[in-house]
Symmetry: C7
Subunit: 84 residues, 7 copies
Amino acid sequence: MVNGIERPLDLLNHSKGKEILVQLKSEKQMVGTLLAFDIHINVVLDNAKEMQNNEIKRNVGLTFLRGDTIVFISPASTALKEEK
Amino acid sequence: MVNGIERPLDLLNHSKGKEILVQLKSEKQMVGTLLAFDIHINVVLDNAKEMQNNEIKRNVGLTFLRGDTIVFISPASTALKEEK
Amino acid sequence: MVNGIERPLDLLNHSKGKEILVQLKSEKQMVGTLLAFDIHINVVLDNAKEMQNNEIKRNVGLTFLRGDTIVFISPASTALKEEK
Amino acid sequence: MVNGIERPLDLLNHSKGKEILVQLKSEKQMVGTLLAFDIHINVVLDNAKEMQNNEIKRNVGLTFLRGDTIVFISPASTALKEEK
Amino acid sequence: MVNGIERPLDLLNHSKGKEILVQLKSEKQMVGTLLAFDIHINVVLDNAKEMQNNEIKRNVGLTFLRGDTIVFISPASTALKEEK
Amino acid sequence: MVNGIERPLDLLNHSKGKEILVQLKSEKQMVGTLLAFDIHINVVLDNAKEMQNNEIKRNVGLTFLRGDTIVFISPASTALKEEK
Amino acid sequence: MVNGIERPLDLLNHSKGKEILVQLKSEKQMVGTLLAFDIHINVVLDNAKEMQNNEIKRNVGLTFLRGDTIVFISPASTALKEEK
């Protein structure tokens, strides 16, 4: 997938339908399936879970997340497996 | 509903008339029926309740909520039932 | 009134001449009669009172309030009666 | 004066040449005579005094105040008389 | 000079070549001779001194100061003489 | 490379495919291979690692990082070797 | 050089190729040779050093620094010599 990324939003486009990890400015994370995003990096996640210190805090289901609260977004698989 | 979401605002459009949970940057939540929203994610809720630590702090009724104070918005049913 | 709200600013338009509660980001509230507002959610209140912990801190009379300091706005009647 | 206020900036226009109270986000206030303002709510005050806890901290004379540091602006008379 | 101020930036224009006091959001001040400014309130000061609690912390000489870090700007003479 | 830098974004363009250090406002760092960036300084890193106090906190793999959370970006080699 | 400064960015233009001190909002400083800047005050420094309390914390070499993290920029010579 790395070869198809010319612009930052290409990564989000490739991640549609996949589980992503969203790091929030508040030190919490959201994990869920990426359904949609826009140029403000607003995203919609399905089956979203709010996490803190590697524990699920809340299941919030289908969720709209404002872009200006986000630090980074990564496909969740790597992050969850290798986290210490 | 998941299939009808092409852009993030589609989720808000589908949620009109339904109860939603709004997580605020201040660590409080607002729960109420979504009546209207705009591209700034300003929203109007009916029968809005301000919540903190799973308790209702104030009934504020019909309420205009500024978009820049919002972290995420989700239909309230899942969030309330599964919250620990 | 709920039926006439298509866009968030409609609620503010309907509230002109009525007493509103304005929750500020600083944890204070302002209560007063809404005279005017604009698209930045700057508002002018008449007979404005600055409140904290349900007590009036200051009477500030006719007041211009910057929109970017606001969390939410609601007609004051419900909020004041049902507040715990 | 209340009848002549259609838009929020009308209140500032009516207050030119009068003493106003400016509440800053830093919990300080500035009191002075309003000479000029613009759409960013930048203001120029004459004979400005920086106040905190109802005491004058500094006389800063003719002063340019950036709009994005302001919470609210009100004609000073009411606020000063009734403040507790 | 008061009569020549129609817009807030007029005060900065009148202050070119004079010593000004710049209050920063960080609770520090900068004092120096105003050489230039723009609509973002970015300013260039000559012989700038960083001050805190009425003491000079650093001489920083010719300095570019970003507008979004500024609370207020006033000609330094009044502020320094009358400060308590 | 220094001679080819006329504008700030030229440095990011020269760094594509190389490992970079990204200092975040939260006092954490991200290290990874720069794949893409845009004018908002949103970046995509491959093999990204979240670091704090010179230790790897999490491997987050392919990651989209929002520009407004960034303090500075530098090619990682110098920073890692000479850090005390 | 003072005479050639009509607008704030003129100072940055005159400082290209010279060592500058950049004060960050985080209370840290960056010192390095200015290679490039843009209207957002994004800058590229060569041989950049991150400093705190007058001590070098890290050598970060060639570095892109985001404008919105900057308080002020001054040619480093004066600041370093006269700092207490």
